[in-house]
Each structure stands twice: as structure tokens, then as C-alpha cells.
């Protein structure tokens, strides 16, 4: 088991990073009145941990007995019926899924699942807790239509089920949904908090963890706790005892993007663009989300760029990111950005150096 999972706090009481929020949630749940919840915050800040702990608080240990299912839903969409396949994680009391994976058919999935849950409403002996919890991941990836249909079903079936929504940015969640939920913002943990967590794990594992090394990991993790713990573990595998000068292995895909950026800066031609495309394909094959590729690529390019070009390049990056969301084939748009950048940069080089 990875340390990330091993040392994940199981109950709200054990939560260390967002203690205050955890206590509030506990109070909320113990008073038996649980509204819909919307958790949002950057990756690696502890949203999932909080949600799991919350479920445990609500349903006891049974919430931890999950099974994984690959389910197919038959959905009637007007004239024809569509089969949608999704992986779900479920226990007796909750279902967790990422409707965003269904692509543009996401709106059907949300409605269908909630309806189904309403049908199989669990009945408690005391007549209490007559609801299930539906955990929806990546709500911000849902299409606008899906969010609208979610809003309606939320109202209609609110007595049967509670929704826990989880996303990175609430800005892509419609106003209507946000106002129907209790919004919980989860901050990224501060570097001190990360260091403290790392030290806690080090102590449990019986490791000698130099404090400046822990600080370096925390700094490199970009305030992402999960990443910090993962890199601590990889460092442990690579070299132990730790030395404070030890290199922290970077993510391979990040290095790869750095390589792409170097390629782009070196030569600007259709041929090079073609090579870059090949490399982008490799990233996509490994499921690196295109938005992240674009963002990282921009970051790498900006580091090497003259200040006067930065504004324009950022503009185009934003432009193509937007188009990427409108479209379907991400590679078309990333490539268009790369081509645009090459074109700008080439013009700049010619203007500067003749």
C-alpha cells in the first residue's frame, strides 16, 4: 500500500490539515441534517480524504467496504437508447463516480443514476437515514447541459439522496448548483503543514528525515500534499538514509514537456511541428489531460521567453485552451497553439536578430 493511502486519515477526528473544516462537518452530520455539499480546491489538498471521512462519520465502517463495478447504463435519449459504460465505486450507502468520463453523454448518466438510487431507497429500521449519498467527481468537467439536468434532479430527489460534489474549481460549476449546495473550500495545505505531515509519516515509518530535505520536498510539491507524500516515498526507495542534497525525482511527463519546449525554441518549422505532435501524442497516450499539457507547456515556454512576448503568448494559450474545451480532439488545438507560438517566436527572432 502506498503511504498516501496508508496514512490517509480515516475519520474526521484524525484529520490534521483542515481540522477546523473537519470539526464543522462533524457537527453538521451529527445534527442529522446533511445538505448537498460541494467541495472545491486544488488537487492534493485533501478533498477526497475529507469526503471519505465524512461518509464514515455518517454511515460508520460500512462506508469503507467498497466494491468496484464497471456498469453499463441503458439510457433512452429521444429516439434511440444509448449504452454508457462507467466505472463506479459503491458501498451500501454511497455511490461514487466520475460522470465526466462519459463525455458528452454525461447529462444522461447523472439523471439516470439518481433516478435509480431513488428507486432503491434504503429503509432503516428506525426510518432514519433514508438516503444514499452520491459522490460525483470532477463536476467542473460536466457539460452545461449535464449541470442543468443535475440541478433539476437535485431538487426532485432531494429527499432520497444527498449529493457530494467534488471539483477543482467552482468557477466552472453553474451558479444554480453552487447555490443549492453548501460550498466547502479546501485550501491547498501550506508548506509548513506539508512538512509536518511528512515528519509525522517519517516518524511512523521510523525514518530519519532531515528537516531541510522535508522542506525541499514540500517546496517542490507545489503545495500538493499527495505529491509530497508520493515523492517522499520515491526518495525513500531511491536513497536512504536521506541526505539533504538528495535529488527529488521529477515527474517524467513534466520532464518530457520541458523537452518539447526546448524543441520548440530550437527550431520553428512544419517539420519540427510534426515531431512535436509525435511527442504530444505520447503524452496523450499516457492519459495526461490535454489541459495540463497545455498549461505546463506554456509554463515551460514562458520561462525561456523574452518579456515582451509573454503577454501575446499567454493570450493565445488561453484562446486555444478555450477552443480545446469547445472541441473534442485536443491535439488539434494544442498543435495550433504550438504553431502559433512558433510563428510568433520566429517573427520575433527575425525582427531582433535579422
Amino acid at each position: 500500500m502506498l503511504w498516501v493511502d496508508k496514512y490517509r486519515p480515516k475519520t474526521l477526528d484524525h484529520i490534521t490539515v483542515h481540522e477546523e473544516i473537519a470539526q464543522n462537518l462533524k457537527k453538521l452530520v451529527t445534527e442529522q441534517d446533511c445538505p448537498h455539499l460541494l467541495f472545491y480546491g486544488p488537487p492534493g489538498s485533501g478533498k477526497k480524504t475529507l469526503i471519505m471521512a465524512l461518509l464514515r462519520q455518517m454511515f460508520g465502517v460500512s462506508a469503507e467496504k467498497v466494491k468496484v463495478e464497471n456498469r453499463t447504463w441503458k439510457v433512452d435519449a429521444g429516439s434511440r437508447s444509448i449504452d454508457i459504460e462507467l466505472t463506479t465505486l459503491s458501498s451500501v450507502n454511497h455511490i461514487e463516480l466520475s460522470p465526466g468520463d462519459a463525455g458528452f453523454q454525461d447529462r444522461y448518466i447523472v439523471q439516470e443514476i439518481i433516478k435509480e438510487m431513488a428507486k432503491n431507497r434504503p429503509i432503516d429500521t428506525k426510518g432514519k437515514k433514508g438516503f444514499k449519498v452520491l459522490v460525483l467527481n470532477e463536476v467542473d468537467k460536466l457539460s452545461r447541459e449535464a449541470q442543468h439536468s443535475l440541478r433539476r434532479t437535485m431538487e426532485k430527489y432531494s429527499s432520497y439522496c444527498r449529493l457530494i460534489l467534488c471539483c477543482n474549481s467552482s468557477s466552472r460549476v453553474t451558479e444554480a448548483i453552487r447555490s443549492r449546495c453548501l460550498n466547502v473550500r479546501i485550501n491547498a495545505p501550506s508548506e509548513e503543514q506539508i512538512v509536518r505531515t511528512l515528519e509525522f509519516i517519517g516518524k511512523k515509518e521510523g525514518l530519519q528525515l532531515p528537516s531541510d530535505f522535508a522542506a525541499r520536498i514540500a517546496e517542490k510539491s507545489n503545495r500538493n500534499l499527495r505529491r509530497a507524500i508520493l515523492s517522499l516515498e520515491t526518495c525513500r526507495v531511491q536513497q536512504y538514509p536521506f541526505s539533504s542534497k538528495q535529488t527529488i525525482p521529477p515527474m517524467d511527463w513534466e520532464e518530457y514537456i520541458t523537452e518539447i519546449a526546448t524543441d520548440i525554441m530550437k527550431e520553428q518549422s512544419p517539420k519540427r511541428l510534426f515531431q512535436v505532435r509525435g511527442k504530444l501524442y505520447e503524452l496523450l497516450i499516457n492519459c495526461i489531460p490535454p489541459e495540463i499539457i497545455l498549461k505546463r507547456l506554456l509554463y515551460e515556454l514562458l520561462r525561456k521567453l523574452d518579456a515582451e512576448l509573454k503577454l501575446e503568448v499567454c493570450h493565445w494559450a488561453a484562446y486555444y485552451e478555450h477552443r480545446m474545451r469547445l472541441g473534442q480532439k485536443a491535439i488539434f488545438h494544442i498543435e495550433a497553439f504550438v504553431a502559433k507560438f512558433m510563428s510568433i517566436y520566429k517573427g520575433f527572432l527575425i525582427a531582433t536578430f535579422g
Binding site: L2, D5, A77, R80, P250, W253, S269, P270, C287
Partner: protein, 601 residues
């Protein structure tokens, strides 16, 4: 020859006994056959209609069965002789039948090919010669290149009798109901064909009808093979043909129609190719007929014009010949249609012809459409047009442009040296999605090394096309009307974007067109995604699922490092088997269909 004769005698005696089980069956079917034939007035097969029609009454069914072959034969034979003389008076007839070639000279097929076939026949028909090893000739060619006509003419030239097998018309349901009430079981056309082949192999031809002229030799012509559906039936057909090739004693000609290479994915085309291959491997000879050259078609057309006394300008004849695409049957029909119009609407055509004649020079679309076959283009042909992006050169066209509104220098492009892109798209029958993918995959190869600005324009337009396509998918079935327009618009944007953006084309040279790698990437990434999920949940007992993005960007790299695989930070992608798509290495240089090439040959 002696063999065949003796065989026929044997069969005759068995016929008199009249007990063969398949006899009653075939007599009925042939009855049905002749009935349905009489309604079908398809072009060249018309000649057969006049033959021994009298014998279709039920009483004579016994005699009729003998004529299962004989009838065809008689019809063909008599029709043949007739068509030259007596029939020509009948103006109602289709010219295709009316002006059937009657001598080798009139045949439009290339001399060399005719000679080849002739030699083949002569070898087999020589009475002195011992039994030849193989008696089957496969003739392939497009529709309407005169395969059947050549055989007919040759047969009459050599004085041989031609027996023809045509796949009978299918039994329709009503007919089947009717038949089964009488007690006739249904037999598939394939069964019939098999029985037929079986008999041919065993007994040669049942040539009762040659009573008078029993000396003449026989040629068997299998004009179209039964349609098969499914692997099993196809296998049977192949097997049956194999047997035929192996053991037939009669010179047999099998005609196979080539479907244009355009629909190479088509099942039919695949079948015909497969059959040809299997026939060849069993030892048949093959002669391929090329499309008829424009010149030969012109010759035939002008001969017909003379006979029919319609005065078409040489220009029109030329145009028809060109538009026919080597299909002489089509050319003659067009000619008839065309001259018909001229005669009947003389007053109208007078005013119109002037206009027409102007247009005829440029082979304008609107005009030539009247008699051109709908051409199909292969996907690669179309892609080649778009990617090579051929344009007019020089300033000769400046005049045209002045009429149009003024465009800034950088947006102006020379006119395209091809049909409108949309037309090409419709000819190539491609879906908008794939065409965008194909263009995206290949366009960079066709760009000038310096032209990164162009690359941007092109990729931006492709992005537009993608967005248009996505909008369509999002709305599913709700906006039916929009469904037709949006994808076409997307395809148009993609193609025109490529044509517009690629303003500094490379001088044309050989390029391979690849299949879109994007498809493989999508497939593989989906696979990897599921794999990641599985790994995460089973092997690492994660309690909660997490986003794919998190998995890919954080867990996977860490897991790779933890797994002790520290060799390189390179992504381990290279080990996928990049299966070669069959069209991977397809040359685009068959692009211009050179008429010259055929002419030279």
C-alpha cells in the same frame, strides 16, 4: 470434341428416361426464369427475349428442361443473327442492342486483347488437339468495356455455339409462396449454379438442340456469378468454381466485373477479387480488359451517328466519349438520349445549343452532367488533391478576378486546379470527421519548410472544423435538420482551410499518405486509462477512486519510480505495437488518370 459429343449422347438417353430428381425442379425454375426474364429488358440481354418463347407452356416442361441451357443458347444465337438485319428497322429499340458489334472490326475493344482471346479459343477449339490442361478463361474489366460483346462476336466469328449462363433473377417472396403452394421447394441461386456446374463437369453441354448442326463447337459463357452472402456461401461458390476449372471439358469463359477501385472497401469488390485469385490459382487463364479508349468510343459513336442519321457535332461526340469513362454501353445510351432530345425538342435546342457550345469547350459541370457517369474518387485520390493543392499559375486568370470583390493581397490565392472541394468530398464519400483527421495527419508533410505561419493557419482551421463537429455531437438527435449541415460545413472548413492555409506548397513530389495516428492514440489512451484504474484499485487498494488526471500525473510516475524501474524518465510508449494500417504506404501518384497510358498500350 469427340468427348463432348459422346457425353451429350449419354445425357440424352438419360433424359428420355426422365427420372433425374433435379429435373422437375429445374424445369419449374427455368419456367420462372423465363417468365421473369421477359419482363427484364436490360440492355444487351434483350436479344435473348425472342427465342424459343413458345415452349414456356407447362405441357412441354419435359422438353423444356433440356432447354434449360438450350433456350439461352438459342436465344443468344438467333438473337445474334437477327440483330444484324431484320431488327435494325425497329426504332424503338435501344441503340446498345441495335448497334451491337457484329464483326471483329466493329468491336471497340482493343485489337490486341481480342487477338489474345481469339488465340485462346482457337487453341481449344482445334479438333486435332488433345485435351487442354485448362479450359477456363477469366475476363475481367469494368462494366461496359465490351466483355460479353467480344465473346459473342468471337464466337460467331469462329463459328462456335455460345451457351450462356446468367444468374437467374432471384425468387421474390410472393413467388416463393406461390411456388411452395404448388409444391416446389425453394432452391437458392447458388444451389442452381452448383447443379449447373456439376452437370457441365460430368456431361459437357447437353446439346440436344444442335441436332442439325452438331459439328460446330461449343463455348460456355458464364456471365455473372451468383451473388453470395456470407463466408460459407462464398466458400461454396469458390469451391464450385475450382471444380469447374479443374474438370470442365468445354472451353468456358467467366466474366468478372471489376468494381472501380474507388470502393475498395466494398464487399462485392473484395469478392470479385477473391474469386479471380482463386480461379487463377486453380489454373484458369486471365485476360483483363481495360476501359475503352476515348478514340475507339468516338469511332463507334460516329458510326452510329451515321447509321442513325443524326448529325451531332464532333464536339458533342467527343464530349460524350470523354464523359463515359471508358464505358461504351453508357456512351451509346447517352448518345441515344442526347440525340433523342435534339430531335424532339428541335425548336428549343436551337436556342440552347449556342449556349451549350460555348460551355462544351470548358467541359462545364452543369452540361457534362447530363451524360457523365457519377464518378467516384477514392479517399486517397481526394486527399491527394487537397494536399497537393494544385493551382493555376501565371496571370492568365486575372480577368476573372476583377469581377470578384477585392481581396487583400495576403488573402488572395490563385484559382484551384480542381473541382470545388465540396464536390470532391461528395465524390469521395468520406465522413467529415475522418477527413479532418487525415488532413491533420498529413498536411505538414506537404508544407514548405519555412512556412510556419501557414502551418498555424491550417491547424487553426482544423481546430475550427473540430469545434463544428463537436457541436453536432453534443446535441444528439434533437436538431435533426442541423445534422446534415454542420458536418458538411466542418468538412468544408477543414478542406478549404487546408487549401487556403497551405499557400507555399512544395513542388509536387512523392509523398506517402498515412492513416491518422490520432485514432491509435485515442484507442491506446482509453486502454491505458482503464488499465490505470484497475491497477490503482486492485493492486493498491485505494479506497476512493480518483480523477484520471491525478492518476496519470501523480500516481503513475511515482509508481514507476517505486517499481524500481528507474532507467529513463522517458515515457514507456515506444513498446506499443504500432500496427500498420493497410493503407499506410499508399502512393498518391496515381493521381492523374492518364488517358494516354491506355492509348499507348
Amino acid at each position: 470434341m469427340v468427348m463432348a459429343k459422346r457425353n451429350s449422347i449419354v445425357v440424352l438417353s438419360s433424359d428420355d428416361e426422365g427420372d433425374a430428381s433435379n429435373r422437375s425442379l429445374s424445369s419449374n425454375t427455368s419456367y420462372a426464369k423465363s417468365k421473369s426474364r421477359s419482363t427484364s429488358t436490360r440492355g444487351k440481354k434483350r436479344a435473348r427475349l425472342s427465342g424459343s418463347r413458345s415452349c414456356s407452356s407447362k405441357d412441354s416442361s419435359r422438353l423444356h428442361e433440356i432447354n434449360l441451357l438450350g433456350e439461352d443458347f438459342n436465344e443468344v444465337f438467333t438473337g445474334f443473327n437477327d440483330s444484324a438485319g431484320s431488327r435494325r428497322i425497329n426504332t424503338e429499340e435501344l441503340w446498345v442492342d441495335k448497334h451491337k458489334p457484329n464483326s471483329l472490326e466493329e468491336l471497340a475493344v482493343h485489337k490486341k486483347k481480342v487477338e489474345e482471346v481469339k488465340i485462346w479459343f482457337e487453341e481449344r477449339l482445334k479438333p486435332s488437339k488433345a485435351v487442354c490442361s485448362n479450359n477456363v478463361l477469366v475476363i475481367s474489366g469494368q462494366a461496359g468495356v465490351g466483355k460479353s460483346a467480344a465473346i459473342h462476336v468471337l464466337a460467331s466469328h469462329l463459328g462456335a455455339i455460345l451457351c450462356e449462363w446468367n444468374t437467374p433473377t432471384p425468387v421474390i417472396w410472393q413467388e416463393h409462396l406461390h411456388n411452395s403452394s404448388i409444391g416446389t421447394p425453394y432452391t437458392s441461386k447458388l444451389d442452381e449454379f452448383e447443379t449447373f456446374v456439376e452437370r457441365i463437369r460430368k456431361y459437357g453441354l447437353l446439346s440436344t438442340f444442335i441436332n442439325g448442326e452438331s459439328k460446330s463447337s461449343i463455348i460456355l459463357l458464364i456471365d455473372d456469378l451468383p451473388v453470395t452472402n456470407g463466408k460459407a456461401a462464398f466458400g461454396r461458390l469458390k469451391n464450385c468454381l475450382h471444380q469447374l476449372v479443374r474438370s470442365t471439358q468445354v472451353p468456358t469463359v467467366i466474366l468478372v466485373t471489376d468494381y472501380g477501385n474507388a470502393d475498395s472497401a466494398d464487399y462485392n469488390a473484395w469478392c470479385s477479387e477473391e474469386i479471380q485469385l482463386s480461379l487463377l490459382s486453380s489454373g484458369a487463364c486471365k485476360i483483363a480488359f481495360n476501359p475503352i479508349t476515348t478514340n475507339s468510343i468516338k469511332k463507334v459513336l460516329s458510326r452510329i451517328c451515321q447509321l442513325e442519321q443524326c448529325d451531332l457535332t464532333a464536339q458533342h461526340v467527343d464530349l460524350i466519349a470523354k464523359a463515359s469513362g471508358g464505358d461504351i454501353r453508357h456512351a451509346i445510351t447517352s448518345l441515344q438520349f442526347f440525340s433523342l432530345k435534339e430531335n424532339q425538342k428541335l425548336s428549343l435546342s436551337l436556342s440552347v445549343t449556342k449556349e451549350k457550345e460555348n460551355k462544351a469547350f470548358t467541359l462545364d459541370d452543369g452540361y457534362s452532367l447530363h451524360f457523365s457517369r457519377d464518378e467516384t474518387l477514392s479517399l486517397f485520390h481526394a486527399l491527394g488533391k487537397f494536399l497537393h493543392n494544385k493551382r493555376e499559375t501565371g496571370t492568365a486568370i486575372k480577368d476573372d478576378q476583377q469581377e470578384a470583390f477585392l481581396i487583400q493581397e495576403r488573402f488572395a490565392r490563385l484559382p484551384l486546379k480542381m473541382d470545388a472541394p465540396e464536390k470532391i468530398l461528395s465524390q469521395a464519400h468520406v465522413q467529415p470527421g475522418p477527413i479532418a483527421d487525415f488532413l491533420h495527419e498529413n498536411v505538414l508533410d506537404f508544407m514548405n519548410e519555412e512556412a510556419i505561419e501557414d502551418a498555424w493557419t491550417v491547424s487553426s482551421y482544423l481546430g475550427d472544423a473540430d469545434i463544428l463537429l463537436t457541436k453536432l455531437q453534443g446535441m444528439l438527435s434533437r436538431y435533426n435538420e442541423a445534422e446534415g449541415i454542420l458536418p458538411s460545413a466542418a468538412a468544408s472548413v477543414a478542406v478549404r482551410g487546408v487549401l487556403f492555409g497551405n499557400s507555399h506548397t512544395l513542388s509536387s513530389r512523392w509523398h506517402a499518405v498515412r492513416g491518422p495516428k490520432l485514432w491509435r492514440v485515442e484507442k491506446n489512451s482509453l486502454y491505458n486509462k482503464n488499465e490505470m484504474f484497475r491497477q490503482r484499485i486492485t493492486a493498491y487498494k485505494g479506497l476512493s477512486s480518483c480523477h484520471t488526471s491525478v492518476m496519470a500525473t501523480e500516481y503513475m510516475p511515482a509508481l514507476k519510480l517505486l517499481g524500481g524501474r528507474l532507467e529513463s524518465p522517458q515515457l514507456s510508449v515506444h513498446d506499443f505495437d504500432m500496427e500498420d494500417i493497410d493503407f499506410d504506404q499508399m502512393s498518391l501518384h496515381g493521381e492523374e488518370n492518364d488517358d494516354d497510358e491506355i492509348e499507348d498500350w
